[in-house]
């Protein structure tokens, strides 16, 4: 059971006022706020055991290495992985996907191969594949969506076939909130020998995710969307795939021995972690995992279903409101994209900001999806563990005010 009133106390920033109003933070799909434990983990590292990892035989280096490597075990438990050598630290989801596109993609994708995506991919799970496809003369194939923004599984059965080399899909849309049936899609892909990459940027922070259950081959996600600091992310991959892949970046830490002309590369996972890593933020990401694990991801998901159900009803009752994506809270994450009464999303965002309410407005790094929806952009409210139904009420009230000022737009 999630009790936002208790949780709020752990987040210093949530005391902030904006223009005399208490902050209502509803932009969690962009980045989450950080609990005291995460903030403290960063300063504790710098104040007490700041040292480089994997080198130096001094006490602080050993402490830093133990803390940094220890986070791999927490992550493994969090996403149901047995072998920590499959957990690779990256800067973020985008870098994790690029790692696969450069390393696995350049080795495995051949002319005529097909890369299957959904039309609701974030640019970070689209642009790297566009580049790869152009370079390799491969083809991008897009699954179809139903009217309420769910993957049409008939199209998946029809489009995933012998030419499919890779299926790269989001687990949860950052616009529509749609939860994609990754497990079913992965089964279809594996039947034809294709590899499956899952963009977990929105799902891993908000629901229990088991890579064993999904049976995917790669999973990418970022810590800053799950209470952790910016600048840390994860690529998980199946060991046999990762072992066969060439390094993505070269330099220190990713080698086992270096001679003048030639080097031997380190083993997994360090083969993919060149240079001094983001030690402090990885350690603080461990604190974020501890925080979420304490709450229980089933409880996090349940809280978001409830607040999303409430918000769908409350916002859905406003005049001339268009809400995109699946109708039922159970089918979606805590992300609600909407447009109201022809008001430009940036105007909505600005007026809500005057009431201390932070939402996102724009194309959400999903320009092709905006085109499919036939909109310039949308407003978007997205929830997390510290959000309450009372905040949804504030959002609805502010939207009604905005409509009074800016609604009823003359046809231009």
């Amino acid at each position: 059971m999630i009790e936002p009133k208790q949780i709020i106390k752990d987040f210093p920033i949530l005391n902030r006022e904006i223009g005399g109003h208490k902050l209502v933070y509803l932009d969690n799909a962009a980045t989450s706020q950080k609990p005291r434990a995460v903030i403290d983990a960063i300063s504790h590292y710098y104040e007490h055991y700041n040292a480089n990892v994997h080198r130096g035989i001094h006490t602080m280096s050993e402490e830093a290495t133990a803390a940094y490597e220890g986070v791999r075990e927490k992550i493994a438990a969090f996403i149901d992985v047995d072998n920590t050598c499959e957990i690779i630290y990256t800067r973020n989801t985008t870098e994790a996907i690029n790692l696969v596109a450069y390393s696995w993609g350049r080795q495995n994708v051949l002319p005529g191969d097909e890369i299957v995506l959904t039309p609701m991919e974030h640019h970070s799970n689209l642009v790297p594949w566009q580049q790869l496809a152009a370079e390799r003369e491969a083809k991008l194939v897009f699954l179809e969506l139903t009217d309420d923004g769910q993957v049409n599984m008939d199209s998946a059965r029809a489009l995933i076939g012998p030419k499919t080399r890779l299926v790269a899909v989001t687990h949860m849309s950052n616009v529509l909130g749609t939860i994609v049936p990754v497990k079913e899609i992965a089964a279809l892909a594996h039947k034809v020998g294709a590899v499956v990459l899952v963009d977990g940027a929105q799902s891993v922070p908000h629901m229990p995710v088991s890579v064993k259950d999904l049976d995917c081959d790669f999973l990418a996600f970022s810590f800053h969307k799950m209470l952790g600091p910016t600048g840390t992310g994860i690529l998980w991959g199946k060991k046999e795939l990762l072992e066969a892949m060439p390094p993505f970046m070269f330099g220190g830490d990713m080698i086992s021995s270096v001679a003048r002309e030639k080097s031997r590369f380190n083993e997994l996972p360090w083969k993919f972690e060149a240079g001094t890593p983001n030690i402090a933020d990885v350690i603080a990401s461990g604190a974020a995992i501890d925080y979420l694990s304490n709450l229980g991801m089933e409880n996090v998901r349940q809280h978001e279903i409830e607040i999303t159900r409430y918000a769908l009803k409350k916002l859905g009752g406003l005049k001339d409101m268009v809400i995109y994506g699946p109708k039922e809270a159970e089918q979606r994450g805590g992300v609600i994209a909407f447009n109201m009464d022809g008001i430009h999303p940036h105007d909505l965002g600005q007026i809500l900001s005057d009431s201390g309410i932070a939402i996102r407005a724009g194309h959400h790094c999903c320009q092709p999806l905006m085109k499919d929806l036939k909109v310039m952009g949308t407003a978007r409210a997205s929830f997390y563990i510290y959000n309450t139904e009372a905040e949804v009420d504030l959002l609805a009230a502010a939207l009604e005010e905005a409509d009074k000022v800016l609604g009823h737009v003359a046809v231009r």
């Binding site: 223009g19 430009h344 940036h346 105007d347 600005q350 007026i351 005057d354 009431s355 724009g362 194309h363 905006m370 310039m376 952009g377 502010a398 005010e401 905005a402 000022v405 800016l406 009823h408 737009v409 003359a410 231009r412």
Partner: protein, 159 residues
């Protein structure tokens, strides 16, 4: 809600709800599509410039936010009937007001409405919304050639 604040003050809302000089011009001297890819604002500007260099007609079709729409509407009023030379001066004055780090002189007389947009300066990300119609107009004036019978068609992208 600070609805009375600078950004959405009455003049802006008036032009937003009832934008002036909207529509198209048959066989214009210049037709320019202005786009701000960041926020998706789009507008098309039509100009009719006479042989002696006067702006005989200006029309806009816009799909943008309140700032963008209001700015375009005010601009059309400010330049309609003016010489191209005077229009360029007005553009210069307006852009200076929006971009200058220091306070510029208050706009008066027939440019008085434009003063309402000064408040947008407090919201840096939206200055471009206000500038898009003006930069599109500049492009239009640059390519308009009244001696030609064909329309000069251009696009302008805010970067």
């Amino acid at each position: 809600m600070s609805l009375s604040d600078d950004l959405y003050r009455e003049t802006i809302l008036d032009h937003y709800h009832q934008p002036r000089n909207t529509g198209t011009i048959e066989a214009p001297t210049a037709q320019v599509e202005g786009v701000n890819p960041l926020c998706g604002d789009e507008l098309t500007l039509y100009l009719k410039v006479s042989q002696d260099g006067k702006i005989d007609d200006v029309k806009l079709t816009a799909h943008g936010c309140s700032i963008n729409t209001a700015s375009g509407s005010m601009m059309s009023e400010a330049i309609l009937g003016q010489s191209v030379e005077r229009a360029r001066e007005i553009i210069g004055t307006f852009k200076e007001m929006m971009l200058s780090k220091t306070d510029t002189a208050e706009l008066v007389d027939d440019l008085e409405d434009l003063e309402a947009l000064r408040g947008v300066k407090k919201y840096p990300v939206r200055i471009k919304c206000a500038l898009l119609p003006w930069n599109t107009l500049l492009e239009g004036l640059d390519c308009a050639d009244p001696k030609q019978t064909t329309t000069a068609v251009k696009t302008f992208t805010e970067t």
